[in-house]
Symmetry: C2
Subunit: 742 residues, 2 copies
């Protein structure tokens, strides 16, 4: 694959970020073109991925490029330079909504077959299956992860701290997790001495062997297997609900059904059928006929019974309410609309919901719209304990104070799908029997006795990414002169394997004068919190899941959001991917645009990602103007923060578009003021002047349009022309950019 | 001083232990006399100490030996062998009650002058002052401390576990402590490079200097000074009471007014006057006239207003109740009698009350007699945080399970009054000005700006005890092959000095293969709890106060009581003191004897102490029979535990006396059965037979007397003849012992 070395690939994704792109890119291109850099759009939106999965169903003018495949190949290019915005990790309900929208727009794509009956339907399900859940990141993340809060952002927070809820020492809030029978307690792990093939097999009680999956493993590759007992899980749910009822706290569920797209929807489904046990006991058969799938939430019941006669529907609705009578109050996703924690699996995402709760003084929102203490249920104990540790810390020491705490950046293992516990092709809901991993020569490498309904999964971690991860950790520790802690639990089978590798690969580096530690998760978070509390920084060096969780947890405490983190993926092959913050609250943003034409999305993440993307371009392609653009963009971002020109949440005030204008103005001013490249300065002086002179006018134009509904004609696949009209409403700004590009 | 090398000095103390002694000693002497060992009583009871302070007031037949002075001298003798039972650390109300009792018995001793007006009264107050609080231990503890749970006791607990309250994850209970303005945050500490005199001085705002105390310090001695702000303390109390009221938890106070006999009563008094603020605002002047001292508790108000006319008294009682209206519920010492946490300072002893609460699932008893979650208030943050750490641990992991947890023995620094934070002669309630420590040459070594009402104190730690303590820690770690953790916080001024010494003195020992760590209190308790939870043992090596706290905390969790701990003081001069368990609940025991003639006191501590005392006698005096008696006593104790012949709490069942009988029987059987010394075996065979044959009869005789009131004629100074009658009611047993001694 050959690419233009002077190209930045900028992803078109979904929801708020994709709207923001429409406003931001014209400004960015105005600058980059002056450095000979092309900023190309690459469509990896959910709708784009759906369409590109069925080229044969589309007319010639409907056909779209498979942006994800293209970028996937690009990651192998040492010159790759990708700016990646947050995208939807689709749950089944989201996928179905997207399909329906596209069909309505005239795209002849098939329905999602929940229970395929023909080979053709199975083929369709397989194609859609590749789009579900965490489908994008594993393809693009061909490197490990380096995430941190830029100095300018920390400085901003010290000046304009986000609100933090008060923690009461008497808070009842706690994390609740399984004490046995879960993945953690059953985990087994091996490291391949040589490359080789293995089979994942199921053996039934009669001794019949079914090969579930064949894998080719590399030398040094780690393979884990683990099982969650269905019975233990259901007992745990029952007990936790009874305990919450007795002790008078709300009950809330925190899983990650989007990322762990096979295992966690099943876990979620058990929560639904335990909570509404009597309902499913009574109407189970009817529900089966209707195609209710509890893994899609209690919302699935409401959807499916809509087709029933009114009296029957009301009878079932009463049965639902009857269940609530003897169950604890549930945390609400939307108390006004009565949407609970168990409505749809994609609403409760542990890595976003837990930090929000902790930031909110340990409270979630109750059915009466009031904040209340909660039993936060996270069945997988592996990671849940870090939240309990932080809850205890906040109860003891009070809420963290953003104006004086240190920072906990992350170096995360994720290259080559390392530790992809969501790996759906190696996750199975089992029958009673034995699940085992068998070597080519027949040796049984690992095995678990399983019962019907258990969730068994395997997971791979290749050696090269681990070695690169250790190197990245040492590099970051050295560059930032900060202690680095590997979060590895010697009592966990997988981590025990990793620890051996870490100890080995650490010897390849000069660690003189560095503080590099290995601690269990509990010890590590406690150590990091203690240091943070006293204003000191600590690098967390973690596996993939903790990477995902911690890069929301600490940023939300430190910065109020993870969107302000700098997120770099130095790729194994030499390229770089620059990710922007998480999209956890993006759906709400779109609603606000549709209703009031105000986009609260903060593109700070894009600004920061572009700055490092340009910096990299400057170094690798020896493009001095790229280097200047990077420095001036950083300066503009700093100024924007200092002047508090980030988007407001309130309609009528500065929004995403206004914030882009200010970035453009500050950036043009900075380029015009720099002295390294006089020609470049001269080139941008007129733009700087025009924007500066017209500041009030442009801001007014951007404000005027707000307050009334905006037409986008689509949620997953909005009309780009209508989006453009909505997102670029300032004639003065548009004219100024056009003049500069002329 | 010369002593008979074959003498064990057995202390006569107070309350239940002194009653038990009356029953136990005749049995013990029956055995020891066979080894040529004399067991001598030494009276260190509160009454005995009071009487010996005023020899000139007593008639010849009333005069008593000063047992404490005698034992104090004995500690310097390499042959010293002392068995020390728990004694009263008297608060002022206790001392006054004791004086009143002695006066009523015809002893012409003076009243305790609360506010001395003459030189004579001052002299009297000074004499009494030496008796108050922790007066005995600092005199006798001429060595460091080695406390552990004997294997037989751990085995017993695994077989007969004590009850443990369930911990709810949603518990609101927590420890609350000052975040600034307390001793911890103000602590300063120096180490003397050479021996020298220093002065503790107060400088008033006009520059006038008052010498409060002169000290001669040794080379290498550590001197600390610290201040607690009166205002910060009162603000903290107010805030904690408001928070408890708001969050709906009870409020309880946990100090150690008996040991910290100057500083903590003042702290306690502030709690009283903050809680009852309106009362003291309104009646302050009257209370001053009446001589109310809030440091003696709200009980002092009730006492003093008893003399007022009924109508006035009722008015004040109503004002007291009015205060309760807007204050949180308070934890009760006795909910039936309405005795709260603030009634008298000697009722709430942090080291006993906190473990009891933690053992009880984090609950204390409310005014309605029900167990409830509590805000446990401990103003001094230095040590309070360990309780919060354990509370968090129990919320997260549930209550500890006595049948499978490890043990946390203690090696404690206490020789030569090391870290005697209770040191009343160096504690001052200050006026506004400066408190400072000045060297002989005028150099100011440490100083604090103080306000009126602040509590300033200094504290000494000599070098020799530290060196011995480090040695004892290494010795114990080696002997038991157990990790040893020094609980030292580098952020605390005093500990920073100690850490230097520990690191230096550790080099004097072979620590190869030993795990010897230094951790902050939080880290240390977390580490120890984690190990304990998984069944592993960890030696806690601590300073004096933590020694005191931890040797209740862990034993109460592990064994249900600290009375079952083996407590050895290997003295600096070579002698040994063998302490028996704590006497925390002894007052209740005496009440039960008086009302129902049943003594629930468990003498297990005495049995274990005697065994090590005899073992030591065997080694040091080359007394082979002592060695045999030690081994057989250990065997008898093990048998007693295994057969569950410890005292029951229920009247009518086996009590302290019956337990002594079984010990005697098992001991005689063991001596008769041993083959090392045939003559000794033969000597005890008849006793073994008599006791075995008459088991049922003796147990019946000991049971028959129970259920009706017993006359002791005194609480602090009971009539020994009447005590003897009560405590030795079995004619059969008495006759058997007499026959053996004949």
């Amino acid at each position: 694959m050959t690419t233009n070395n002077q190209t930045i690939y900028y992803t078109l994704t979904d929801e708020a970020p994709s709207l923001a792109t429409c406003s931001l890119l014209p400004i960015v291109r105005t600058f980059t073109s002056a450095a000979g850099i092309d900023v190309k759009i690459s469509d990896i939106s959910l709708a784009g991925r759906v369409l590109s999965a069925f080229p044969e169903n589309l007319s010639a003018d409907q056909n779209v490029e498979d942006g994800l495949s293209f970028l996937g190949e690009l990651t192998q290019d040492p010159n790759a330079n990708i700016v990646k915005l947050p995208n939807i990790s689709a749950s089944i309900p989201q996928l179905k909504a997207c399909i329906a929208e596209l069909q309505a727009q005239g795209y002849d794509i098939p329905d999602y077959p929940e229970a395929p009956k023909t080979d053709a339907e199975t083929e369709i399900q397989t194609r859609y299956g590749k789009i579900l859940g965490s489908a994008v990141n594993p393809v693009l993340r061909e490197g490990n992860s380096d995430r941190r809060a830029p100095g300018a952002v920390k400085a901003f927070v010290r000046k304009f701290p986000h609100s933090m809820g008060k923690w009461s020492k008497a808070s009842r809030t706690h994390a609740d997790y399984m004490r046995g029978g879960d993945f953690f307690s059953s985990e087994q792990s091996i490291t391949m001495e040589d490359a080789g093939d293995v089979r994942i097999e199921f053996v039934d009680p009669a001794g019949n062997v079914e090969v579930k999956k064949e894998l080719s493993l590399e030398k040094g590759e780690i393979l884990d297997s683990m099982n969650m007992s269905c019975q233990a899980l259901r007992d745990f749910f029952e007990e936790s609900m009874n305990d919450a009822k007795e002790t008078g706290v709300m009950w809330s569920l925190h899983v990650k059904a989007t990322m762990m797209k096979v295992s966690h929807p099943i876990v979620f489904g058990h929560a639904v059928t335990v909570f509404y046990k009597e309902l499913f006991d009574q109407y189970g058969e009817l529900f089966d006929q209707l195609g209710v799938n509890p893994n899609n939430g209690i919302g699935s019941v409401y959807d499916k019974i809509a087709s029933l006669p009114r009296s029957k529907r009301e009878e079932i609705e009463e049965a639902i309410h009857a269940c609530h009578e003897h169950r604890p109050e549930m945390a609400m996703v939307d108390s006004v609309k009565g949407i609970t924690n168990l409505h749809v699996p994609s609403d409760v995402i542990v890595d976003a919901s837990m930090p929000a709760m902790i930031r909110n003084g340990g409270k979630m929102w109750g059915p009466d719209g009031k904040p209340k203490d909660t039993k936060a249920v996270m069945p997988e104990s592996t990671y849940a304990r870090i939240y309990q540790e932080m809850i205890n810390y906040c109860k003891t020491n009070g809420a963290f104070d953003p104006t004086n705490i240190g920072t906990v950046p992350n170096v995360g293992l994720m290259a080559k799908k390392a530790e992809e516990y969501g790996s759906h092709d190696k996750t199975f809901e089992t029958e009673a029997g034995t699940m085992r991993v068998v070597a080519a020569d027949g040796t049984v490498l690992m095995q678990h006795e399983v019962e019907k309904g258990d969730i068994w999964r395997a997971c791979q971690t290749k050696d090269e990414p681990v070695r690169d991860w250790v190197k990245l950790a040492v590099t970051r520790a050295r560059q930032s002169d900060t202690p680095a802690v590997f979060w590895l639990d010697h009592k966990r089978a997988h981590d025990a394997q990793l620890i051996k590798k870490v100890e080995k690969y650490l010897q390849e580096h000069d660690t003189d004068g560095l503080e590099i530690l290995i601690k269990t998760y509990n010890q590590a978070i406690r150590y990091s919190m203690d240091r943070m509390f006293h204003g000191n920084d600590t690098i967390s060096v973690t596996g993939n899941v903790l990477r995902d969780y911690l890069t929301d947890l600490f940023p939300i405490i430190e910065l109020g959001t993870s969107a302000k983190m700098l997120s770099i993926v130095p790729m194994l092959k030499g390229g770089g991917m620059y990710e922007t913050g998480a999209g956890g609250s993006a759906p709400k943003h779109v609603q606000q645009v549709e209703e009031e034409n105000h986009l609260r999305w903060d593109s700070l993440g894009e600004f920061m990602a572009l700055a490092v993307s340009l910096e990299d371009m400057g170094i690798k392609q020896n493009n001095s103007r790229a280097a200047i653009l990077s420095k001036t963009l950083d300066a503009a971002t700093g100024k924007l923060l200092e002047e508090n020109k980030s988007p407001s949440r309130k309609t009528g005030e500065l929004d995403n578009r206004g914030s882009h204008f200010y970035l453009g103005m500050y950036w043009a001013q900075a380029v015009a003021a720099q002295t390294e490249d006089a020609e470049l300065a001269a080139q941008f002086a007129p733009l700087a002047k025009t924007l500066t002179d017209n500041e009030a006018k442009i801001v007014a134009e951007l404000s005027e349009v707000q307050g009334t509904a905006a037409e986008l004609d689509g949620y997953y696949h909005a009309n780009r022309d209508m989006v453009k009209k909505v997102m670029r409403p300032s004639a003065t700004l548009n004219a100024a950019l056009a003049a500069q590009n002329a």
